[in-house]
Structure formats: structure tokens, C-alpha cells
Amino acid sequence: MTGDELRQLLDRELEPAGRAWLAGAEAAVRKDPRVVQTAFPAAGRSVGRRLLAGDPPTGWTADDAARALLLITLGDAAGEQVPDLFGYGDADEQRAVVRSLHLLPPVPGAAELVAAASRSNDRRLVAASLGPWALAHLDDEAVAQSVLKCVFQEVPLTGLPGLAERATPRLSRMLAELAHERIAAGRPVPEDVWPLIERFPPEDTLARIEAEQEHPVPERRAAARAALASRRGQET
């Protein structure tokens, strides 16, 4: 998603009042970058929060898109303003910052902002912590931590181009061990962990999961069979 594409998608959905607000806010920010400090929080109630239509789904809401455009408008002032917009931001504002990083000039401390987002209790903010900027720039350990946080928060791992390429033997193993832990507790395993496990299959852990299918505790047997069926389902 580029800034221009985002503007087109948003423009299709904006009411006249929202369009006027955005144009005014962008002009004011261009004149004085500090205006972003109060325009950025006001975006939701000014342009709405609807999911922008598109096929495939855009994954962008109107407020996220408007905030991204305000950040792009900052130009070289982004480096100065963006860290505080995140620091003073509520979950919606922080999410917009994290989602926009790949559209902006380098922001100091961006990796720390993404790490903070992934530690949040807000699932949409956690989801944003595995966005395009994160997948292109974070180190392996940070990617692994964000992936695990998503799985724990039941944030889907689908729709993330480039995630499979960031898998490492360590991430595949951590996810397989997490799957085993879930099975041992008789709980379901989210099916979207399997493609990442398959990148570097940890044979010993997978063998232990196979063995769970014959475990004396019925809940464990059932959880293992369901998990392995969903694994096979994804191979076909």
C-alpha cells in the first residue's frame, strides 16, 4: 500500500465534511508541523472509522488512512513529531503510527515503537506490530516475539506477505512447542501457525505431537488429532 493508493481508497469513502477536514488539517500541518499534535488525535471523529472497501480487503480504516496521510504530510518533520505522537497516543493513534512507518522517512527509535505495540493489550495494535516496516527491518528475535504475541492474543497471522520469509529454525521450534503445549492442555491450536512451523520442521517436537494422538487423556488425543488434521489440510 503506497500513500497514493491510500489516498484514493480513502477519498472514495469520505463525506464532504471529512474531506474538508483532512484537506484543512494537511494544509495546516504543512505550514506548522506541530499542528499534527492535535489533528492526529482528532482524525477518528473527523473522517470516521469505517473499513475501506477493496478486493483483496484493504485492512485500512478511514481513521488509520487519514492519520497516515497526515504523517506523510509531515515530510522531514516526521522524525521529530512521530515518536511523541506514539508516546502520547491512545491505542488507535499508536496503531496508525506503526502501520504508517513504511510510508515515512526514517523515524528514530522505530523498532522500539513497534516492540511497544506488540506488548500492548489491544489486539489491533498487536496486529499492526507485524506490518511491512516491521517485517522489513526488525531482527529475527523481535519478529519471533511479535509472532508469538499474535498467537497468544489470537490475532490471525494471515494476510502478511513476507512473514513466511522471516521464519527461522528458532521461530518454527517455538511455535511447534507452543502447539504441543496447547495440545497437552487439551486446547485447540490456531491453524495459521503451521505454515511457519513447516518452514523449518522441528522433527523431535513434531514427533511428540504425533505421539499425543495416542495419549491416555481423551482431551489430549482429541486436541492432537484436530491439530494434525488442520496441518495436513494446509498441505493440500
Binding site: 499534535q37 492535535t38 489533528a39 492526529f40 488525535p41 482528532a42 477518528g44 471523529r45 472509522r49 473499513l51 477493496g54 483483496p56 480487503p57 484493504t58 485492512g59 485500512w60 480504516t61 502520547y88 491512545d90 491505542a91 488507535d92 493489550n121 489491544d122 489486539r123 489491533r124 496486529a127 490475532v155 490471525p156 494471515t158 494476510g159 502478511l160
Partner: protein, 288 residues
């Protein structure tokens, strides 16, 4: 019965309170920023407090089916620390711009010092700039004088009647407040300030226009179900259901609605956790 408690400090309360409030009919609340029982020593403590009102506390309330809003301000007690005052006032505009902030407050007087005058005036101007109503705390000591002084300051700044509520009124301040054209808030406590029966007598004498009833429950001895108890006492005293609904729901909705930022659709429990459904997490349909 639907209840809107327009002044309650939920950060100091438990999840049992949230459950009991929902069961009693509470569906929306306003949590004013106030002092924490002891002085803060740096602006960062205020930032974290404001963030918790806008983030964690809103999330907690939503899990119990209650819409949480807040007011943001530097309270009068802590306005007396000059270094802190300058720093906190400088970060307030960022917070006054946020969704879920429905007024500037609690502002007003504690000891009526020149420092308090300065902070009050500056924050009244911020309210005008951000088009937000004002929630004005009145002092425990010398309350009648503090109330009149607050009214004078608001008038001098040109704040219209419908854009400020003077809070914590009693029998001796209610006439000054209502005559001024501003709204009158009443904090109904288990033993001090105002009790349930006195509150009903005030409603009988002065009517239900421009009156807000709140529990002001906080970390002190207080009761988060006081607004419901006032509603029940009104019914017992012969007020009809429409009068009760006006006092415990429509009045606060009208007053804080002037911010344009009230959100009154009821959140499903766990709504914040699944905000707008899975599909919005990544734009992918749930389960795909």
C-alpha cells in the same frame, strides 16, 4: 433503568464494582482526572495517568458493558506546584484533542490561591479552543465563596451557561449555581457531602433541569451505586419514570454531548478485545 454516572473515579475501583454497577443499570460513565490522594512529582506521572484513563480504564469498563469517557485537566490542588503547573498545562492540548475526552476537568479551586486562578483561567481558555465543556470542582473549605468565585471567573471568560457544570453543590450553594445559568452537579456520598434524601429534597425544591447527580466514588469511603439509590429514592418520593430518566441519563447525555464525543452504543463484553470484529484486525475475513 439506564444510568449515566457523570463523575466517578473508576481507576480506584474493582471489577466487582463494575459488575455491580452494570447490574444496577449503569451503562455510561465519566471519569474526571483528579488528584490521587498524594502529590505527583513529575509531568510523566500525569501523562501516564491520562493515558490510563484513555486506555486501560476504557478497556476495563468495556469488558463490563459500560461506556467510559473521561475529562482531562490539571486539578486545583496540584496547580499550586509552579514547575509542575507549567509542564502539565503544556501537554494538555494533546490530550484534550483525543476521542473519549468529553470535558476539561476537574478544574476550579482548592485553596483559592493566585496559582489556582492562573491554572483555572488557562484551562478555561483551552476548553474554549477545543470546544469542550468544563467540569468545575468546588472546595470543601469555604465552599460558598469558592463557588461564587468560580462562577465569576467563568462569566468573565464568557463561558455560556450550557458549557460548564459546577460540581459538589449543597443546600447552601445550589441557588447561586442555578441562578448563574451554569449546570449544578451533586456528589452523593455515604456520609459526607450530600446524602440520598437531601438530594431528593433538592430535586423537589429546584426541579430536574440542569442537574447532574454523581457518586464521585474514588479511593475514599464512597459508593459506586449511589446514583441508582438516588433514582430509587426519587421513585419512592413520587417522581415518575421520565423524571428519573432525565436526571440519571438524559441530563448528563445533554451536558457532555456538547463535546460531540460521547459514544453511547453499548459495548459487548470483550468488545475492545475484538473491536469491530476480527475482520478489521488485518482486513481479512474472520477465520480466513
Amino acid at each position: 433503568m439506564r444510568i449515566f454516572d457523570p463523575h466517578i473515579h473508576m481507576s480506584s475501583r474493582t471489577t466487582d464494582d463494575y459488575e455491580a454497577m452494570y447490574a444496577a443499570g449503569v451503562r455510561a460513565i465519566v471519569e474526571p482526572a483528579f488528584w490521587l490522594g498524594q502529590p505527583r512529582t513529575s509531568v510523566g506521572s500525569f501523562v501516564d495517568y491520562f493515558q490510563s484513563l484513555l486506555g486501560w480504564e476504557r478497556f476495563r469498563a468495556s469488558q463490563f458493558g459500560i461506556r467510559h469517557h473521561c475529562t482531562i485537566a490539571l486539578n486545583p490542588k496540584e496547580a499550586n506546584d509552579p514547575g509542575l503547573r507549567t509542564e502539565v498545562l503544556s501537554i494538555l492540548p494533546r490530550f484534550l484533542a483525543k476521542d473519549g475526552v468529553v470535558a476539561v476537568g476537574e478544574v476550579g479551586y482548592d485553596s483559592a490561591t493566585p496559582d489556582e486562578d492562573a491554572a483555572f483561567e488557562e484551562q478555561v481558555a483551552m476548553g474554549q479552543e477545543h470546544r469542550l465543556p468544563l467540569l468545575v470542582h468546588t472546595p470543601h473549605r469555604d465552599k460558598a465563596a469558592g463557588t461564587r468565585r468560580s462562577i465569576d471567573l467563568l462569566r468573565a471568560a464568557g463561558v455560556p451557561g450550557e458549557m460548564a457544570v459546577i460540581d459538589h453543590n449543597n443546600e447552601l450553594t445550589v441557588e447561586d449555581t442555578l441562578d448563574s445559568g451554569y449546570w449544578a452537579g451533586f456528589s452523593v456520598y455515604p456520609d459526607t457531602k450530600m446524602d440520598v434524601d437531601r438530594m431528593v429534597r433538592i430535586l423537589q425544591q429546584y426541579g430536574t433541569d440542569r442537574i447532574l447527580v454523581n457518586s464521585a466514588a474514588d479511593w475514599g469511603r464512597s459508593d459506586p451505586l449511589r446514583v441508582r439509590k438516588v433514582a430509587d429514592a426519587m421513585t419512592a418520593a413520587g417522581f415518575d419514570a421520565d423524571d428519573v430518566d432525565k436526571v440519571v441519563w438524559r441530563n448528563p447525555v445533554e451536558f457532555f454531548g456538547r463535546s460531540g464525543r460521547l459514544e453511547l452504543d453499548e459495548p459487548a463484553p470483550d468488545a475492545a478485545a475484538t473491536f469491530a470484529g476480527n475482520s478489521i484486525l488485518r482486513g481479512a475475513p474472520a477465520g480466513s
